[in-house]
């Protein structure tokens, strides 16, 4: 393979991986706090993308308005889900919470089919994200650096919140032991709600960027990103934000490079990509950045 072509594959891989990473961060944060695999996370990605679509299609909002609005709406929906579907079940066996998460996921998907219609819709890309950038023979559109940059900024912001603020300290305490944290006078409900809000905001950003990169949205568009982000989170060590970031990039890299180096395996791409993941997890069962801490699932 010519070096230029390899570079092009690398750019493609980073572009895809940064999206996985962004969605995986939200996934892993909720898990870190509650030990809950929030299956509805992928569907919040979809809601984020549709919110932008309808804000533009019905209310003709320009993107500087529609993006923040969609992100806030999705964040509110995330909190609503936590309050109605997860909070009442928190004291029950973990499997109840788990089942409730799957139910919420199906509910969102099917509701969207009814409300939005089953046919895919075109997602408009703002012009400034649609410009060609060529470096030598390597080409990309301007959304690629934007996605990577957004991912890094949000990652940095999240690290700051978790490690440098009082709320972050509460979140870390909660992830160790909810009951004891509560006994220390911390309002655990509020901290959990905050985590869900942040997680959902990240999902919405992921959804919008997903729509920008792959400008076609449909009610089931969140399923694949959700699943891949979950895998990325596990690969990086679930519950660990840095791990999710690394896991996301690694997943993108593996998916693309499998095809780049073994093109005749194109049809079995995922089988091979995920076989590699199984191998990684066999060698490091807790994921790349995971601590060998107690697992509660």
């Amino acid at each position: 393979m010519p070096f230029q072509q390899f570079l092009q594959h690398l750019v493609n891989a980073i572009s895809l991986g940064s999206l996985y990473a962004l969605i995986a961060i939200g996934y892993t944060m909720v898990y870190g706090i509650l030990r809950l695999i929030n299956f509805a996370h992928g569907d919040l990605v979809m809601v984020g993308a549709y919110s932008v679509f309808y804000a533009a299609a019905i209310f003709h909002l320009p993107w500087p308005l529609s993006f923040p609005l969609a992100i806030l709406l999705t964040g509110a929906l995330g909190v609503l889900i936590e309050r109605t579907a997860y909070k009442p079940l928190r004291e029950m066996p973990r499997i109840n919470l788990f089942t409730s998460a799957i139910a919420v996921s199906f509910l969102l998907e099917n509701l969207s089919i009814v409300v939005f219609g089953g046919r895919p819709k075109a997602f408009d890309r703002p012009a400034f994200l649609n410009a060609n950038i060529s470096i030598g023979r390597v080409r990309m559109l301007s959304y690629t650096p934007v996605i990577i940059f957004t991912g890094l900024v949000l990652f940095g912001g999240l690290m700051y919140v978790v490690h440098r603020t009082k709320m972050g300290m509460a979140m870390r305490a909660l992830s160790r032991d909810i009951e004891t944290t509560g006994l220390m006078g911390i309002n655990t409900d509020r901290v959990i709600m905050f985590s869900f809000a942040i997680g959902s905001l990240l999902a919405a950003v992921g959804g919008i960027l997903w729509g920008i990169k792959f400008p076609q949205i449909n009610p089931l568009m969140g399923v694949t990103p959700g699943l891949k982000a979950f895998i990325a989170a596990v690969l990086g060590g679930i519950g660990n934000i840095t791990g999710a970031m690394i896991g996301g990039f690694l997943l993108g890299l593996i998916e693309i490079m499998i095809l780049a180096f073994l093109p005749h395996l194109a049809g079995y791409r995922y089988a091979f990509a995920y076989a590699i993941l199984v191998l990684v997890l066999l060698v490091r069962p807790t994921g790349i950045m995971g601590e060998a801490a107690r697992e509660k699932v």
Binding site: Q8, N12, S15, L16, R119, A122, R139, E255, L259
Partner: protein
Amino acid sequence: MRIKRLVLLFVVVGLTASLLAACGPAPAEETTAPPSEGEAEEEVQLDEVVIGIYQPMTGAMAAGGEQTMQGIELAHSQKPEVLGVPVKIPLVDNRSDKAEAATAMQRLIEQEGATAVIGSYGSSLSMAGGEVAQEAGVPAIGASPTNPLVTQGNPYYFRACFIDPFQGRVMAKYAIEELGVERVAVIQDVAQDYSVGLASFFRSAFIEMTGDASQIVAFTSFQTGDQDFTAQLTSALGEEPDAIYAPGYYGDVALLARQAREAGFEGPLMGGDALEAPELIEIGGEAVENLYFSSHYHPDAELSPASRPFVEDFEAEYGERANAFAALGYDAYMLLMDAIERAGSFDKDAIRDALAATKDYAGATGTISMDENGDAIKDAVVLTVENGEFVYLTTVSP
């Protein structure tokens, strides 16, 4: 806290009661209906004949299913009776899902009591349902599934469309003779029988016509629902093809086309009949200009004496121009009615035999005769996208 709950409970009970009251009259009507008068008659004279429809109304192929349904409904409104008996067309959504398609067929046969079945958009979906229909001995006619395996070895399955070996040949010929293409990259959807079949038929026709297998410079795959095609495209474009043949479904190919243009490819893109949907243009935008594909029908192509009246009726009914799937849905329904009339009964085997004997039937999509497999032998058209519209280029005869 407790009081709050009580209040809530009352509110909920009250709301439920008022809802129930609102739906009140419905159950009452049911009880007033005459009990079992029709049952005794049914053995002598059917009071309705059920033609079951199974189509993807949601999921990745929903656009195709909806378009087909428009055609079927138009045909049904023009011919609501056959042999003096009203026709009922219950629709079951197979959700673009192979497992669901078999269940949908089962439901049509067992619960709806279908005498015959129309469906489905999507070769894989048709095949999944086909086995069920064959076991039950129910004749089925597909509107647009083009993979040869849909009807092969299944004497109960027919179709109103041509099959992929012909379609692949049409596009190979057009690429060589009209577009002057020498080097082609083929990208197939491995999850779809339709796409895998069409890709390989195109490849063999192209190699046969050029006599040079090395001119297929890349042959790679994706899977339905994939959104990232950059890896396949980067590798394929590295071989510097003149054209890309991507016989997938409209949604995937629209994204693929955009990513191909973003990667700097400017040559013609080519594909098959499954590209014809408004979403191809909505999602693909400028990227699908200069895209060529084989199809069954175009309102500007006079394919048979029945084409023009269909175009006019369809526009009067829906206020838009018909596309291939609507036209094929229309033809599938009419072919079935024609067969029932020639059979002179609702006996499933008699209908099957009559369908098999169809000859020179003038349908909206051309003059249709069934071959020994139950496949329609008819013309194909080549279309392209120009300024966001599907434009008719030429007609190719078998």
